[in-house]
Symmetry: C2
Subunit: 665 residues, 2 copies
């Protein structure tokens, strides 16, 4: 335990005040931002970093570092101030001066990847604490595989009232309690203020009782009593359960006329109050000037981290599990994956199974999970529907983290945020399943997968009216469009077992992009019966069936509707009309292809789009004058075949649309 026993409390007071001064001055300079949280939390953060945190600014990605998550992301200046004082080389004082300005690393909210020492993008409330649960889970899973010598760290979270009011916090807290994630320590900024005023106006929950009900170890301290804070953190580290420490703080601590009020939450203090705060804190330094003693104290923290990191590197060197550890940290072995998937695809082309693409996903996952050592599966209580659990997988359970399958419970949003945390922690490639329509429940966290550029794979089954009787509440019609709209999110909707295998392969090889696999409930024939080594799905769209001669029409379809387009092409051929069929499993990938390839695939003939979903997003493919066969509103409850007939998504309808287009031109 890297805990200092002799603490210079005078210096700690200075350290905390340095954080306060940097925060209020940066917000004042930007004329924008949130001084209240950093000022209120300065004592808590100082104690945490000075006495406990083990990070090395010179090796910010060191795998066994402690994680610090500023879940109350609007308090970003707390993190920036600390990282500046610790000496991260990309967080010089100019970054602090340029808080919230274009091109600076000090964005309004902490952005993962924008600067070292930012473990996760926060700001949307509740996400940080939930992703921290994923980090703490990944730590125990890695520990179970590699032992205490290589994996032995804590995840600390600062969460505000807002984080704890958000629903996602419930999912994360229950999950952490169930899995007994003892390495997770949440410091709750109990300042009793939200943007609208006192927390009394909107909540009466006893947070300590709430966490206890979820199986947590709960403590409460005065958030400005450094000895008490230290004692609580030490007790939290010693407890086998996840710990929540309620830190009673005064928001904007130090601002004599504004502290304790919501006026200090999200606006600069103003020049007068900044001056008054300097007086109240006895802080005589100019803005952005920090006494050497403060830098020295923070650099001592960094030195402690460096020593720990060097010790760890010694333990890793020559460790019997060194290779396995490093493999887990690295990108998936694309060569091994390509070889395994190539062989599997060749067999599929021969066997031509008729299976739902959710089943095809399970089959592909059998190959993936046998090839890659560090995939971690799971489902939000729909394992038997999503088919995410392959042979040989074992559940991760409290007390035994050697497994590789996670029962996320009925917690879609929590699942997505926890997967973000697993990916951020490193060492694992997470995938998790639910129904496609319930992407709506976890969209907040999916957006952060995309914004952070994390390899997280969403296995979203039951992807259209083809799910049948469960009805419109469960039938996505707008969900594909809503996900395709999201930047840096790849949406794969494979048509058969071969495309499903290719989609998995493509998703796993994308280093900085999350993926959605949109999969059918209903059975679909294998359409790609001639084997190709190339990953055609990764191109986004390709000609599945060329016309017999110059094209009269091009039919473009995705997923379960490609079969319908092929049938329509056959019907049209019988009438002497030459139709090509384009399978378009990934619009985003197709948009990235060279113009020449795109032109070849799309052709010059009129185009008909086919997808059991709304039209939005299709016009760019089918062009002005193109036709679309799909949904115009919500679905209905009935067997799948009846619904396809009812909503007119049939080969007949596609052929009719094609003929009508040809007639027009």
């Amino acid at each position: 335990m890297n805990v200092q026993t002799q603490i210079d409390t005078t210096t700690e007071d200075l350290m905390a005040n340095a954080i306060r001064a940097l925060a209020m001055d940066a917000v004042q300079a930007a004329n924008s931002g949130h001084p209240g949280a950093p000022m209120g939390l300065a004592d808590v953060a100082t104690v945490l970093f000075n006495r406990f945190m083990r990070v090395d600014p010179a090796a910010d990605k060191w795998p066994d570092r402690d994680r610090f998550v500023m879940s109350a992301g609007h308090g970003s200046m707390l993190l920036y101030a600390i990282n500046h004082l610790l000496g991260y080389d990309d967080m010089g004082i100019d970054q602090i001066r340029n808080f919230r300005q274009l091109g600076s690393r000090t964005a309004g909210h902490p952005e993962y990847g924008h600067a070292k020492g930012i473990e996760v993008t926060t700001g949307p409330l509740g996400q940080g604490i939930s992703s921290a649960v994923g980090m703490a889970l990944a730590e125990r899973m890695a520990n179970a595989r590699f032992g205490d010598d290589l994996v032995d760290h804590f995840t600390y979270v600062i969460a505000g009232d807002g984080c704890l009011m958000e629903g996602i916090s419930h999912e994360a807290i229950d999950f952490a309690g169930h899995y007994r994630l003892g390495r997770l320590i949440v410091l709750w900024d109990d300042n009793r203020i939200t943007i609208d005023g006192s927390t009394d106006i909107s909540t009466s929950t006893d947070q300590q009782a709430r966490f206890a009900a979820a199986g947590w170890h709960v403590l409460a301290v005065d958030g400005h009593d450094k000895a008490a804070i230290a004692e609580a953190i030490a007790a939290a580290r010693a407890d086998a359960r996840p710990s929540m420490i309620a830190c009673r703080t005064v928001i904007g601590y130090g601002a004599p006329n504004k502290q304790g009020s919501h006026s200090v939450h999200g606006a600069p203090l103003g020049a007068d109050e900044v001056a008054a705060t300097r007086g109240a804190l006895g802080w005589s330094h100019a803005p952005f000037e920090v006494p050497g003693a403060v830098y020295d104290a923070f650099h001592a923290i960094a030195a402690r981290g460096r020593d720990a990191r060097q010790d760890w590197e010694k333990r890793l060197g020559g460790h019997p599990k060194q290779d396995a550890f490093e493999t887990a940290q690295a990108n998936p072995d694309a060569r091994a994956l390509d070889a395994a998937m190539g062989a599997y695809k060749a067999k599929l082309a021969q066997d031509a199974p008729k299976v739902a693409t959710r089943k095809a996903s399970e089959m592909a996952l059998e190959v993936v999970n046998a090839t890659l050592p560090n995939t971690v599966g799971g489902s939000a209580d729909l394992t038997g529907s999503n088919l995410t659990f392959t042979r040989g997988m074992r559940d991760v359970v409290a007390g035994d983290f050697t497994g590789n399958y996670i029962r996320y419970g009925v917690r879609e949003h929590g699942m997505a945020a926890i997967m973000n945390g697993i990916a951020l922690h490193g060492g694992f490639v997470p995938y998790g399943g639910t129904f496609l329509v319930f992407a709506d429940y976890m969209r907040g966290a999916m957006r952060l997968s995309a914004l952070m550029g994390l390899r997280v794979i969403y296995v979203l089954t039951h992807d259209s009216i083809g799910l049948g009787e469960d009805g419109p509440t469960h039938q996505p019609v707008e969900t594909l469009a809503s996900l395709r709209a999201m930047p840096n999110m790849m949406v794969f909707r494979p048509a058969d077992a071969v495309e499903t295998a290719e989609a998995w392969q493509a998703a796993l090889e994308l280093e900085t992009t999350p993926s959605v696999l949109s999969l059918s409930r209903q059975g679909l024939p294998t359409l790609r019966t001639s084997h190709s080594d190339a990953n055609l799905t990764a191109r986004g769209a390709y000609v599945l069936r060329e016309a017999d001669g110059a094209r009269d029409v091009t039919l473009i379809a995705t997923g379960s509707e490609v079969e319908i387009a092929l049938a329509a092409a056959e019907m049209l051929a019988a009438d002497g009309i030459r139709a090509a069929v384009v399978s378009a499993p990934c619009f985003e990938a197709f948009a990235q292809q060279p113009d020449a390839y795109r032109a070849t695939v799309l052709g010059d003939a009129p185009r008909v789009g086919v997808e059991a979903a709304v039209r939005q997003g299709w016009d760019a493919l089918i062009g002005t004058g193109g036709a679309f066969v799909g949904m115009t509103g919500f679905g209905a409850s009935a067997p799948a075949e009846a619904l396809y007939q009812h909503f007119g998504i049939t080969a007949d309808a596609v052929a009719a649309a094609a003929k009508s287009l040809i007639k027009e031109t």
Copy 2:
């Protein structure tokens, strides 16, 4: 209190078994559905309806009826069986026979509006309990206005483990505890089974302690002990707090070989087990045959409801508040609204204020709230940002429900579901605010607003990179497209104060469609300086500035970018290029216009789209070969003006795109 004191328990056993038989036989006939929950809950539901519920199948919309919410919507057969037995005239036995078939009222999950006696669409877990909170809130708010004689009813909820694991339940439960909604009674189906197996595999939460921590009255009973259930419900009704009754049940109760297991959750029992269940329950009747004694008992419940309804009607007739009560129940007075908004718009055209559209929304709301008596405002802790609180509004607080403004707390998803519940209850028109980007947090409930066709108005401010320094976590770029993709959701993005007023007017006059108002943080000039009585925004798009002669190009923009398009048109005019500017505040409304109007607005010239968001959805407007000036990825943290420059959303860029298009053609 309409509680029978002498209960024929033998008949209640029969009633419960009739529900079980109908549920298992309907699921068996459909070969699809969820028998476990209805069979496990039959005793609880029988006691609730037989001894407490006050509904009248002959007047299903009677305002003072008790509400029953089947939050565990997959157990829909419980509700259908009860409504059939009660004698709702649209729920004959053929509906039960045709469970989950095309065109039947008995959809897989209960669909509001598909049959009488379905108070809310459920199935997506956690939504029912959360909307029930809105119903219970609306009941107290109406009671505060009209008194016990006119408003005095309960909201009962059956919720499963899944509902309580979902994050939204946290938001709803905390809210209900804070507002002390004593008329809300939740019966938790504590069967300890989820789809994946025992609840032990994914949760350890002490639900009773959890509800107690949120200020609820908590009870626990054997869910098959009818006397105990009745006693608990009576105690719950008597308590001033919301009540949660943990009903320990056996899922699939009565199926001798399958009960208590997850195999009975979501699949037919099978012919053998159906037969065995008949034996175990001593139920000798053929499928869909119910003994007369059971019908008699349920019809007695209906008669009790009819009597209560008739008594209520007598109280209403001649009541001093009769007119006010009926006005509140009816649609908003469009004539009054049109008159008030017409006068307001005329003044705006004259004054031409430069204000953010969020501020313009506040100004419009001043008019709306002064005109309509029953709007209910609120915000998810962003009142000062969303500007949803107008002069004279008062907070609704626990113990005093006379106010008309709700502090939803940091609970977007809960807010949306609660607004659904308020709209479903009737008597109020709810609107609520948060940042546009956080639509992602509440999309699950917004989808239900749309699917149910509820007049719920989402006030979503800070609608682009124009919010500035808060950065990409807070800057929507794909959110507009994702909301436009949703069927039956109107997305208004007004360009100035006039369009904002029109958007409010249009949204309030839509009877069966929810609306989003997408509003700027930054100030915008009034562009519509010549007054028009007609609501141009309600047409979706219109020519704001016609070209001086035949159009060379049409610039189409929304919201804050219309100002940019106008500036570009001026620049182009200086170069002798004739550009029209089309303001397109609502794509959905424009899609509904006659073709001739659409053609006139769009014109024949090449088109440039301008929106500080992703392109998806624009191709349908700008056509093949059209140009788009907008975002291609996530935003950044900086002042708004710097971001517009950085991302190239400027009049210069629009003019350049227009010129480039004209050169091509």
